[in-house]
């Protein structure tokens, strides 16, 4: 749990991950995101990082010197795009599809940007904070 945390600018994510791969980080374990829309106050960001609505969280693992590194990338709400890590680690394909599905973050260059968990014609991105947990009409193709 003593993972190192790196704050990476959005346009340097690919180079950072490529550099970490060369340092022996053999696998991307996890790609997820957080919507900080309703967070009361973020205090854990270093001063040089300006907070944005979305944060992409990429977890890599090194086996040679056992340890994980967590990359935190600020993604603005008005341009939620990030370059895909698929070319470096093909295992991010499903993970990035899930983030795209749940948060509406677009991964540029992703080979299959379709929805993974929700139905293909679903509207909205459920894990965004402005997507309500209350009752919503069930969206099924057959009922329309």
């Amino acid at each position: 749990m003593n993972d190192s945390v790196l704050h990476v600018p959005r346009d340097q994510l690919t180079e950072t991950v490529a550099g970490l791969r060369d340092e022996g980080y053999v696998s991307v374990l996890d790609v997820t995101a957080v919507d900080y829309l309703e967070h009361p106050g973020r205090t854990d960001l270093p001063p040089e990082v300006s907070p944005e609505r979305f944060e992409l969280v990429v977890t890599l693992i090194s086996h040679a010197a056992p340890g994980r590194v967590r990359l935190r990338v600020q993604v603005p709400a008005d341009d939620p795009t990030v370059a895909t890590l698929f070319d470096l680690y093909p295992g991010t394909e499903a993970l990035e599809r899930e983030v795209a599905d749940m948060f509406g973050i677009v991964f540029e260059g992703h080979p299959d940007p379709s929805r993974i968990l929700m139905p293909p014609d679903w509207e909205g991105h459920p894990l965004r904070k402005d997507f309500s947990v209350g009752q919503i009409p069930v969206q099924f193709k057959a009922t329309q």
């Binding site: 749990m1 993972d3 053999v26 696998s27 991307v28 374990l29 996890d30 997820t32 957080v34 919507d35 967070h39 009361p40 106050g41 205090t43 854990d44 969280v57 977890t59 693992i61 086996h63 056992p66 340890g67 994980r68 967590r70 680690y89 093909p90 295992g91 991010t92 394909e93 499903a94 993970l95 899930e98 749940m102 080979p111 299959d112 379709s114 929805r115 993974i116 968990l117 929700m118 139905p119 293909p120 459920p126 894990l127 997507f131 947990v133």
Partner: protein, 421 residues
């Protein structure tokens, strides 16, 4: 080179079929006689494919070319739900993700919460957690033995595997009160102390199991038909596994020894003496044999836990995190208040973010948690090993026969509750 082999080479290198369901149906409807490939839906065969995992296969005769696991049928928004449940209610939610090994999700969730709280769990709670997890690992791997045997056609194996698993589940029920979805490991420790006679019950199980596992060996391991069905089928190598983020028995089947219990110890695994079981060829047979032998290693660990189980508290005595003992509520006003506050409001967790991971029977199960200082997680994400491991299916299946696809799905041992969450 046969005609089929040539067709394999002509296609693009990718093993993953990246078309939507509608496109698949449209292509199938438009295909003409000269088109030798067809798109098929696989299943139901493995229990996971009964309505919750759909596999689109692009077939050339009986050979699988490209394939795509279509998931989401069991998606119930559990990560969204987690944002409305307090930290005390959280384990009830996550335990329903990987329903074949629920205690591991509870453990990852609790470890993440405790890391944010900066809470040290008492030794007895740590060892009870370890005991429960190893029992759960045994029951989960026995479930695999049952379903794997059934998929391959050794149907009697299903009965035997299910019988032994039931023994393990009965023991879990004795301790936690529930066969599955225990909600036993909670932030701060475990829900209850071990019941009277737990030692005898565990001993009875671990005394009986080795002989049963030897029967499995007789029934399956040495059986020529079984070996023919599994050996050399669904081969994957270490580099592919690492690139795909695969963990657990699939990664170890390639001869790569990586087990969080040994390499990044949590709980008290650094004090345990056990071996990390690895394979050689990365095929379905190795994955079967690894899981069978991991049951034996878990029995070894359980024997050590029985010898060394410490005494003391089974949860922290921090009144802000764990409820007071029932007897105290009748005599102490403060205990009543604490009890009431914990179950109505929950407890506040300092702001921060953390990732905690454990080695589940399927691989690295991680919990990423963000707290905003309130009593419910701001964001809770479970990194389910099955979700990532499922990506190996197209790579293992490519160029194989459709009958092998059944063996391959089974050898990945996916639990769809954890895939879709």
């Amino acid at each position: 080179m046969t005609a089929t082999d040539a067709a394999v080479r002509r296609r693009d290198d990718s093993a993953v079929l990246r078309i939507s369901e509608d496109d698949g149906e449209r292509l199938e409807a438009e295909s003409n006689a000269s088109d030798t490939s067809m798109i098929m839906n696989m299943g139901p065969q493995h229990p996971s494919t009964h309505g919750v995992l759909r596999l689109m296969l692009e077939m050339e005769g009986e050979t699988v070319m490209r394939s795509k696991p279509v998931i989401g049928y069991l998606h119930t928004g559990m990560e969204k739900t987690a944002e409305t449940l307090t930290y005390l209610q959280g384990p009830t939610n996550v335990t329903r993700m990987d329903y074949a090994s629920p205690l591991f999700s509870e453990l990852a969730f609790s470890m993440a919460t405790e890391a944010l709280l900066g809470l040290e769990v008492p030794p007895r709670a740590v060892w009870i957690r370890m005991l429960m997890c190893e029992l759960n690992r045994i029951s989960s791997h026995l479930l695999f033995q049952a379903t794997n045997g059934m998929d391959i056609g050794a149907v009697s194996m299903m009965i035997y595997g299910w019988r032994e698993r039931e023994e393990a589940l009965r023991l879990l029920e004795t301790i936690t009160g529930l066969r599955m979805n225990h909600n036993f490991i909670r932030p701060g420790g475990v829900a209850a102390d071990l019941p009277d006679g737990w030692r005898d019950e565990v001993l009875t199980l671990i005394d009986a199991l080795p002989a049963r596992l030897n029967e499995f060996d007789t029934l399956l391991t040495g059986q020529p038909i079984y070996r023919e069905r599994l050996q050399g089928v669904g081969v994957i190598n270490t580099a592919e596994c690492l690139a795909l983020g695969v963990t657990g028995p699939i990664l170890r089947s390639t001869g790569y020894a990586w087990d969080l219990r040994r390499d990044m110890p949590y709980l008290a695994y650094d004090q345990m003496d056990f071996d990390v079981v690895v394979g050689t060829y990365g095929d379905c047979f190795d994955r079967y044999a690894i899981r069978l032998n991991e049951i034996r290693e878990s029995i070894r660990i359980l024997a050590q836990i029985l010898d060394q189980m410490p005494t003391g508290d089974y949860r922290v005595q921090d009144k802000k995190v764990t409820p007071p003992p029932r007897a105290r509520i009748d005599e102490s006003m403060e205990a009543l208040i604490h009890h009431f506050k914990i179950f109505t409001e929950g407890f506040k967790v300092p702001a921060g973010e953390v990732y905690a991971a454990v080695e589940s029977p399927r691989g690295e199960l991680g919990c990423y948690m963000v707290s905003d200082g309130s009593a419910v997680p701001y964001r809770m994400h479970i990194r389910g090993p099955s979700f990532v491991n499922l990506q190996t299916l197209p790579h293992m299946m490519q160029g194989g026969m459709v009958a092998d696809a059944v063996a391959i799905i089974s050898s990945v041992d996916p639990i769809m509750g954890e895939v879709d969450r």
